[in-house]
């Protein structure tokens, strides 16, 4: 009964979404206030019924209802309850339902926070999001029904959740990632609404900017969690693989990074308007493309869901309608008159233009690398795979190119600035960073590690720009003393994100350059040295988990005779699938991780063991956390809160808003 109720809720949500896609849009066309006013209630209605469907699917999982196909395929009676719950989105059907649930959550948030916006704008935005919801609900109902029953041949127990997914990181990774993916539909909907209304102005940018920042922040956090999970769960200490599925989430992030910056220009200066609209369309299109690549099976990847050409065709048609329709609208309606607001070649606008170009080129490069096997295959030119060497070779120089500009950006002035002023601001501290970089380059394994020196130079340079900007804000002003109130949430968010980016770069370079690993055989009582650390294998044992049996090895790690940590790596055999998983044991700290993974047992009381020393690997995730939280912090800026009260009547024309 419960699955059927869930199915019915999903159908009701679908009908309401059709209403949301049609009625307010029609109302906006006819200036019918009653029709436009239905938008918020319809949005809430969709959310409620998708929420019910999702909750009922979760109940089916928690109650071990193996008559439901997805439960039978992805759960097991022995699975701990928390993983029964996360198993809801550990499969194609359930994760699609999560996608729609998050989309409707975003719609409700837009309905709630945009009450002060012009009605016609709200109606159009929600209606566009409703159209997206119709597509995904239809996809779920027609090709991927999560409530499909296995009757009358109901299995006695389920196949179990893939052990790789039985992990706390995977409980929150997909929801966060989808928050980001789907959240990009909000700036997309604002862009489409603005194109329809012909109003691409500073207030449009101010409305969609906080949404974009939040979505992009979540996307950053989601990608970070995925990388962290891969690091500790796959058992060999890698943190980024350029796998097609990773690229699918990385491309919207890159495009989102361009959009976040371009929106700043449009909000503050009223320029780059068509450009910003286009970026908003691209960012969400890349989200949809990612969904297509992951779920259609056109590219092979270990992450990919079961390939199904029928599903692929459905998403492709949907993609063609959404993206093709938006780009057609763009071609017809984007303002063709060049903006009258001028800016000099040396100005903050130009610097942000550089940012946009770098991020767009990076997106294209990743897109090409991801699709290259498909392109060659389509033209029968052979079968290829593109690996990390390509991506690293093109991506690293692009980021290195970006960073010199990144430091100058926050210090620069809008409209017209001078290179001499930049030099004056940054010359002395810049030389200081150079000296530090040269000294730190000497600390590596090699005599002088040029890569570390470069990374310190670039990251230090970026940090410098942020610090100088903060100091200038604090100390300038009429009164003496520090002006803490001048550090607005906008500034703090930017500072946090830029510092985080510098941290990621530094961490990535150091961990790539200075990691050490030993693969060796260790018997009971053996001890091995890795750098200054001594690893001693103290005991071996077995431990039963709820749905697996684990071989455990207990290591004591010491440095100069001082014990540091007891690490217990495991090798687990899961009962239901017979799959074997390596659980690495990690002693983490800010400056280094010590990482032990068990290989295979070799003879009596001996194992093949991999010991790793990973310096500064945490910086990758701490930096990404800072990027994500930085983006989230910006929404608390006062000017976004006051938008609801101000501007009940839409203003027209490009209006520069004072910062």
């Amino acid at each position: 009964m419960i699955p059927e109720l869930g199915h019915v809720s999903l159908i009701i949500a679908f009908v309401l979404a059709i209403g949301l896609a049609a009625v307010p849009m029609w109302g906006a066309l006819r200036r019918d206030i009653a029709a436009m006013n239905t938008a918020p209630s319809l949005a809430v209605g969709v959310t409620v019924f998708v929420g019910i469907a999702f909750a009922l699917l979760a109940v089916s999982f928690l109650q071990d209802d193996f008559s439901v196909a997805v439960v039978a395929a992805n759960s097991n009676s022995l699975l701990p309850p928390i993983f029964k719950f996360s198993a809801v989105w550990g499969n194609h059907e359930g994760s699609l339902l999560l996608w729609v649930l998050i989309l409707s959550g975003w719609m409700t948030a837009v309905a709630y926070f945009s009450r002060g916006l012009p009605l016609v704008m709200v109606a159009r935005v929600l209606s566009v999001m409703g159209m997206v919801a119709v597509g995904f609900l239809a996809f779920s109902l027609l090709t991927s029904n999560p409530f499909e029953r296995l009757l009358p041949n109901t299995p006695l127990d389920g196949n179990d959740l893939n052990p790789l997914l039985q992990d706390p990181g995977l409980i929150i990774h997909p929801p966060l990632l989808y928050m980001g993916y789907v959240g990009l539909s909000v700036p997309f909907a604002f862009a489409i609404a603005a194109l329809m209304g012909g109003r691409l102005d500073a207030s449009w940018a101010r409305w969609s900017r906080p949404w974009t920042n939040v979505a992009w922040g979540f996307l950053s956090l989601g990608i970070m969690l995925g990388s962290w999970w891969a690091y500790y769960e796959l058992g060999w200490g890698g943190w980024w693989f350029w796998d097609p599925v990773e690229n699918a989430s990385f491309m919207p992030w890159l495009m989102g990074a361009a959009l976040v910056h371009s929106l700043a220009v449009t909000e503050k200066r009223g320029v780059f308007r068509s450009w910003t609209v286009l970026l908003a369309i691209f960012a969400f299109s890349l989200s949809l493309l990612g969904t297509f690549l992951v779920r259609s099976g056109v590219l092979t990847s270990v992450h990919a869901f079961a390939a199904d050409p029928e599903r692929g065709l459905f998403i492709l048609i949907f993609l063609a309608l959404v993206v093709g329709g938006s780009l057609l609208l763009y071609a017809l309606r984007a303002p063709s008159v060049a903006s009258r607001v001028a800016y000099g070649a040396v100005s903050r606008e130009s610097l942000l233009m550089v940012n946009n170009l770098v991020f767009i080129v990076s997106t294209v490069v990743v897109l090409l690398g991801t699709l290259f096997p498909l392109i060659m295959d389509a033209f029968s030119l052979g079968k290829y795979s593109v690996g990390p060497p390509y991506f690293n070779a093109v991506f690293v120089p692009l980021m290195a190119l970006l960073m010199p500009f990144m430091a100058v950006g926050p210090l620069s002035r809008w409209r017209e600035d001078s290179a001499r002023r930049w030099l004056h601001e940054l010359l002395v501290p810049g030389l200081g960073v150079m000296v530090v970089a040269a000294l730190l380059g000497l600390l590596g394994k090699a005599a002088f590690n040029i890569w570390i020196a470069m990374a310190v130079l670039l990251s230090g340079w970026v940090a410098l720009g942020v610090i100088k900007d903060g100091w200038r804000r604090l100390s300038s002003g009429m009164t003496s003393g520090l002006q803490w109130r001048r550090l607005s949430p906008s500034f703090l968010g930017m500072a946090l994100a830029h510092l985080g980016f510098a941290g990621v770069v530094l961490g990535a370079v150091v961990v790539t350059q200075e990691s050490e690993e030993h693969d060796l055989r260790m018997a009971l009582g053996d001890s091995e040295l890795l750098g200054a650390y001594r690893f001693e294998l103290q005991s071996l044992g077995q431990q039963a988990g709820p749905n697996y049996l684990a071989d455990q090895a207990v290591f004591e790690v010491s440095r100069n005779g001082e014990p540091i940590a007891i690490l217990v790596p495991e090798k687990r055999r899961y009962f239901a699938s017979g799959q074997i998983m390596t659980e690495a044991a990690i002693d983490a700290s800010l400056w280094r991780d010590l990482y032990i993974a068990l290989g295979e047992p070799i003879g009596d009381n001996a194992w093949a063991v991999r010991l790793q020393y990973k310096p500064m690997v945490r910086w990758l995730w701490l930096g990404s956390l800072m990027i994500g939280f930085g983006a989230l912090v910006t929404v608390f800026d006062r000017r976004y809160r006051s938008q609801a009260v101000r501007n009940p009547v839409p203003q027209t024309g490009a209006k520069a808003v004072a910062s």
Binding site: L319, A331, A334, L371, I375, D377, S385, G599
Partner: protein, 184 residues
């Protein structure tokens, strides 16, 4: 209205066309020319011993030829299942594809070695002759040394039961399989 504003739309149309084409090709499909052909001739060093081996070395058949590399992390996912298969008596030959041989030997020491022998295809020339798309891939070499099937991606219990059972019945012991078909 300006023509250049249609550029993004045109670019998307091209991309959509490509994706549509992509849907109709199965990335795991073996180029038709290879199926039913004998395994290509080669002469490469064996990974652990370093001695030259040729196609004659793949004598125990039917067997799997598994394409793997240390840079391929799906291979890591697949590896425990290969070991399980080897323990059940399925002969597996490895094609260590475009890899650093030292790293590959370390991998086998650490993770276990399910292979009868490994062709060290450092330049990828055997892979090229075979039409390898990427790692991991697994081929069935039937009793006559002919390539009978190809699987792209991770080999799992499910895939094996579904696609490989015509050549290997896991209930039966190794001697039974080879008793039936006869080892040349």
């Amino acid at each position: 209205m300006q023509a250049k504003k249609f550029i993004p739309l045109l670019a998307f149309v091209v991309l959509a066309g490509l994706l549509f084409r992509g849907l109709s090709i199965d990335p795991s499909e073996l180029p038709a020319a290879r199926l039913g052909q004998p395994f290509p001739e080669f002469s490469q060093p064996e990974l652990s011993t370093g001695r030259e081996v040729s196609v004659e070395a793949l004598a125990v058949r039917p067997a799997l030829v598994n394409v793997w590399a240390t840079w391929c992390y799906s291979c890591r996912v697949e590896h425990p299942y290969l070991i399980a298969l080897a323990q059940q008596g399925v002969p597996i030959y490895g094609l260590n594809y475009k890899d650093d041989s030292a790293k590959a030997r370390e991998w086998l020491t650490q993770l276990g070695d399910p292979y009868q022998l490994n062709i060290a295809d450092v330049e990828g020339s055997v892979g090229l002759d075979l039409g390898v798309y990427g790692a991991p891939e697994t081929y069935v070499l039937d009793a006559d040394g002919v390539i009978a099937h190809r699987h792209v991606g991770v080999l799992s219990e499910e895939v094996f039961q579904r696609d490989f059972s015509p050549w290997f019945s896991l209930g039966a012991s190794l001697s039974e399989i080879h008793g039936e078909v006869g080892v040349e």
